[in-house]
Amino acid sequence: MKKTIVYIFILSVLCVSMAGAQQVLRGRVLDIDTGSPVARATVTVKGTAQTSLSDADGRFSVPVSARDTVVFHGVRYDTLYLYAPFGREDIVVRLTPQRTALQEVVVSTGYQTLPKERATGSFVQLDNDLLNRSVSTNITDRLRDIVPGLSFNTYGNSALSIRGQSTIFGNAEPLIVIDNFPYEGELVDINPNDVESITVLKDAAAASIWGSRAGNGVIVITTRKGRAGSPLNIGFNAGTTVVNKPDLYVRQTLPASDYIDIERRLFEEGYYDAAKNSGYRPLSPVVELLYGGQADPGRIPEIDREIERMKTYDVRKDADRYLYRKGVFQQYALTVNGDVKNNNYYASVGYDNNRESLIGNGYDRVTVNLKNTFRPFGERLQVTTGVYFSNNNEIRNNPGMTGLSMSGSSSVIPYLRLADDNGRPLSTVRDYSREFIAGAMDEGLLDWNYFPLQEIQAADNRLVRNNLRMDASLRYLIADGLALSASYQHTEVGSERNNHRSRDTYYARDLINRFTQVDGGEIKRPVPLGGILDVSVLRSLGRTFRSQLDFSRQFGQKGEVSAIAGFETRFSRTDSKDFRYYGYEAEYARNAYVDYVTDDFPLYHDSQRRSSIPNNDDMDRFTDVFRSYYVNASYSYDRKYILSASARLDQSNLFGVRANQKGVPLWSAGLAWNISREGFYGSDILPYLKLRGSYGYNGNVNKSVTAFTTAAVSGYNMYQLPYATIINPPNPELRWERVQIINLGLDFSAMDNRVSGTLEIYSKRGLDLIGDSPLPPSSGIVLFTGNTADTKIRGLDANLSTRNTTGPLKWNTDLLATVVKERVTGYEKEAPATGGLGYIQSPYALPLPGRPLYALYSYSWAGLDPENGDPMGYIGEETSTDYTGIFADTDLDNMVYSGPLRPTFFGSVRNSFSYGNLTASFNITYRSGYYFRAPGIAYSNDYGLSSNSAAYAERWQSPGDETRTHVPSVPAQPDGNRDMFYIYSTALINRGDNIRLQDFRIDYRFGGLMGNKWFRNMNVYLYGNNIVLLWKSNDLGIDPDNSYADLPFTFSAGLKLDF
């Protein structure tokens, strides 16, 4: 009985406590971005039937118990799980809007943000998810293959192009804007984790707000900031990328045995005698041995054995082992953001550490980002401040394979060894013969041997760069719809490269030795003992001020006007200084002085030559001043018709007073028609359809010319008086380069948003481009650089997104396609006097009207002569081996235009899958419509030794070979023209077309699984990049976009936590 009472008591207590564990949870559901209430969100207690809906004010109430999970679900919002909110009274729940294709996207021009729906121009908006899909140290790398019209160039004078290149000699890089201000620093200084979104502006309506700097398109980067009304949010990111060693076998070189056979042949013909007789010039190890045999025939059998052994060596094996390793890139970022009493803040710290695949090279970066937005007096006044600091350290101690070549040769001897069997570093031949080095060292000179592996240890070449950006802006709401803002940005970049070649480095020992004079046992050293320190200091300063009026107002029921007008000044200055210390001892920070004046120091190795001690001192200062006025307005009626216009006037110190006064404004106008909002439109097939068009002018800057007569001191005359040469004749007519852009776009979605996309066609005409044109020489100038050239680009950008399946397994496809056809339309400089030869053999782009700027021209190929394997071309209709004759006969009309060097059709197909918390995607890219010239063999006067090409094995050797090969025979007599003809003939032209599996990513999200006890969300990802070339049109084994294996396979794994 007593036992029963106790039992009941316990039970009742338990019951009471159980009953007390029931509670009604009240709160509000808000949008995380806007802070506005979310109505009709379902609030469910997991595992129970308890469900309620939020009201119009976002308020809800639901009974909960301890350890319950409450699930919030709003239409078009991500589902949120709240674990055990028990014990809290009035909570605020913020839902994140779903990122789906047709949700209202806000694009940023850097001057304003506007809903994409209201845009008339060509914008591409990249959100955080897409940018974070790929893993990289550098933010721009993440733009690869996800923006239609944007290409990464492997050829030409810019790394990136948006819709081709509309300039010839001008700056061809797109303008980068970070947080509303143009950014001229290194992009690697930006931590990608701080980037919220990127907008790419491609046409006149989008970009002309940037006026004279928008000609190449604009990339607007917006970094993350605290959101109004957002709770404290802590995020942590960690990732590691492993970078494969580059494949050194990609370049097909001569096998050691062939190489040695040629060396032997050349040796027998006395080819090396001049070098040998010079007493100092370097000879390859085999040639040294052969001379040894010549001097002492008794050693020949031993030497032959040694040479046979060398045939088994492969320098690439040693290089792969001793110069390279797997690179490891680590990236960490911690971010904190939130909103406390009208102050939203964002703070982040990032750390990157890249151990590069070249042993001894590395990079690390620390970034700190602080941002605050205050509303000290309510909503009327908003103050924003930002500080962004990054510290970058770069070490470059390993030059890679280039550090292995012998002086006077660009190729690497294939049988070199870098270390012996025990891994001890070996010396390799570089500037001098072994005999000479031994003799010099006997005379008391410093060790003159070159050990490539020790060099990496001894080198100390580092760069430190600090990048500071500070900005502040005030925005005051004068009246409803009218705001005035003023912003100021201050940037400072300081970088210092210290290349310290200590006395242990070959560079220092070599320079000291070269100048050493031995006079009867006495050693004089004009270059003092010790290290050599080269310092390059660069300091950039930028100041930008902008004031702007924003106006937006409803007119009537349906009309809406939004406009901005403003004024901006920008000043940037870069100072650089270079200097060198000799006799530098790092330990005591001490240096010695040298005699830079004497210019006839005898050189130890070559008594014929005299020289002064190399002097690196130099300084430069560049200043850019811009002053701009801009206005931009749009009118939308019933969100059906949108009209936009913008204009901008730029002035700069690059141009003379007249150009500034004339002030031709750059302008644009655009029109959009939202057809699907028309009453007559009732298409169910295409429920969303918008047509838009724009027209206008962007500008471009060319800093190489100015309106003033400019000269520079170019030398000293016979009396050592400095004299000046005129660089730029007076050109009062100088003006901005302009790009006229017409853009037509179509946005659509169909089948309940299962299919959506954008199609754009455009024409870009480069006008008044800076180009060279001939002047009558009586003007004093033969070639005039001024606004004389024109280009034209036509193209198409398309992207199509499909949601192939819905339901638990989601499969989406994003298809990107770009067509870009470029050509130069006007170029006045006459064809070089050498005619076709000038274009064909030019090492840089020569504009030719009617052709793309970057084009390949070739000699017409008539095969190999069946008799002797000579390459044949044409003189008129006749085949010929008279190469000078062929060169003379090849003019602009009969040279072969082989095609563009840059892809003209390219894009990607990205498939993404998600199932529950697992998502996976992979990107396949394609590039087409371009050509490349395969490396050929030039026999020169050494049977192709310096060409070092595996094609040697394919050469014509006997009649009949001409049917299987186009590699010419070894000529009886060296003939440079024969080499040139072959190398520049159509025989070596190949299509560049290829398809590759670029990357893949797998993500797993633990958010819903573990609830939000320790963290709200955890993401784990795997990412692989540069995976495999699936198909290429050439059968030479050459990857045209990766011919140096500089894009090795990388594999990353990482973790993302939100607290």
Binding site: L549, F626, T709, A711, A712, L721, Y723, I726, P776, S778
Partner: protein
């Protein structure tokens, strides 16, 4: 209202944004006098054209030697070919107009600089220098690209374009040779008083001395013997010294250093680089080599045996491989001597020529002054002495053009190459080089006849 005021204020508040700042500090925008001096100190200002050298009488080159000449204009000039430039722009024309351009940049720039007490002398020197350089270039253009000067017909003979401003877009046309000389002479008259009398250190800069020497040279070309004598005389008064060739090395391949030559050099010019100047196959004509008498040191010091009967020139006053083509005191003695002879002062003429000859005579060989009475004989003797002394100085072409006006002294040039004999008749149109085609095309300049 207040809002608007504030708005306007903020909107147009401007940072210090000076649009006059130099974009690149390394650039020199020639606005200061020292910048202009740096422009005129440019080594290109002392360059002289060279195609007339190889077209003249001093070379005799084998077919093989002609083929070995590096550029088409050199080969074609030697053979007085129909097409000289084969589409290229001749360096001679280009460099001379470049000098004109530099001079014009300085002259236009000087107009914007106020003359003050402090800068007056520098300003004057620069203005005089620019006028001198421009006139010198114009004169050399006339010698190469216009037909000879004759007083009677000078207003009908086309000269050259006189480019007088630095505006590169300005169109130009050829003006008569009389107007050309009128401008040259008046500019030189203006330049003279502005310049320092002599350049004691920087010989490459113009002086009044250099102006007189140039005026003497031009007046001789115009056959204004009285004027030529006057200016030559002024030069000799300013600096009468001559080198004694006995002090020079007879074996050296560079027997005369520029410093040594400085004693005689009035204003130095150096020929543009052409392959014939350094080619071992571009030989001196036997005709020239044979005029030197035994005992004349110039034969030994000037010429070098390259074997195979080829002699090349080594007597450059530059002391380097570049051809010296400037004015010297010796030339002034020769001008004065010739003018005196032509003006019937035989005694004075012979005094000058003997004075010069003596300085060139081997002291180990007995020397005797020449004496003769016949005026024409004296002139012939002086002209021969002129060939000997001024060999390879770029004066033969202008001398031929001048002397061919007088049938007593005219010369028919003849050379054999490519199995053909090429002849340049004394009155040939080919004494004026063709105008570059691009000038004909763009500026519509009248082309020289080449019948």
């Amino acid at each position: 209202m207040n809002y608007i005021k504030t708005a306007v204020l903020i909107l147009f508040f401007s940072c210090k944004g000076d649009l006059d700042i130099k974009p690149d500090q390394g650039l020199l925008i020639p606005t200061k006098l020292e910048d202009m001096q740096a422009l005129l100190d440019n080594v290109e200002m002392n360059r002289a054209p060279g195609l007339h050298m190889i077209a003249g009488e001093e070379y005799a080159i084998t077919t093989e030697g002609v083929t070995s000449l590096r550029t088409a204009p050199e080969r074609n000039s030697y053979l007085w070919a129909d097409d000289v430039y084969e589409g290229s722009v001749p360096s001679d024309w280009r460099i001379l107009y470049e000098q004109v351009f530099y001079a014009n940049v300085v002259l236009d720039g000087l107009n914007t600089i106020e003359v003050t007490e402090e800068n007056r002398s520098v300003w004057n020197q620069l203005k005089g220098s620019a006028l001198f350089f421009r006139s010198l270039a114009f004169y050399q253009l006339i010698v190469e690209y216009a037909m000879p000067y004759e007083k009677g017909s000078a207003d009908k003979v086309p000269g050259i374009p006189l480019k007088l401003s630095s505006d590169i877009n300005e169109k130009v046309e050829r003006v008569s040779i009389r107007d050309c000389f009128k401008k040259i002479l008046s500019d030189l008259d203006e330049a003279g008083p502005l310049l320092e009398t002599v350049q004691s250190v920087y010989l490459t800069r113009p002086s009044r001395h250099a102006v007189y020497a140039l005026l003497a040279r031009i007046a001789l070309y115009m056959q204004e013997y009285g004027t030529a004598e006057k200016y030559a005389d002024r030069c000799i008064t300013l600096s009468p010294g001559l080198m004694d060739y006995n002090g020079l090395s007879r074996t050296s391949s560079r027997p005369i250093s520029f410093a040594q030559a400085g004693e005689e050099v009035i204003f130095p010019q150096f020929m543009l680089t052409y392959s014939f100047a350094t080619s071992s196959r571009a030989g001196i004509s036997e005709d020239l080599l044979s005029v030197y008498e035994t005992g004349d040191l110039r034969r030994i010091i000037f010429f070098r045996d390259r074997g195979n009967g080829v002699f090349t020139f080594k007597g450059n006053y530059s002391g380097t491989s570049s051809m010296f083509l400037g004015t010297t005191t010796a030339e002034m003695y020769l001008i004065r001597s010739e003018c005196r002879a032509r003006l019937d002062d035989i005694e004075g003429a012979l005094a000058d020529v003997n004075h010069l000859r003596k300085m060139r005579w081997d002291s180990n060989v007995p020397y005797q002054d020449v004496s003769m009475e016949d005026r024409e004989e004296v002139i012939r003797f002086i002209l021969l002495e002129r060939r000997k002394e001024l060999a390879m100085r770029g004066l033969r072409w202008s001398d031929l053009k001048r002397l061919n006006r007088d049938s007593r002294f005219e010369t028919t040039l003849e050379r054999t190459a490519y199995d053909r004999t090429h002849i340049l008749a004394p009155q040939s149109d080919r004494y004026a080089f063709p105008i570059p085609q691009i000038e004909v095309d763009i500026n519509n300049l009248a082309q020289n006849k080449r019948d």
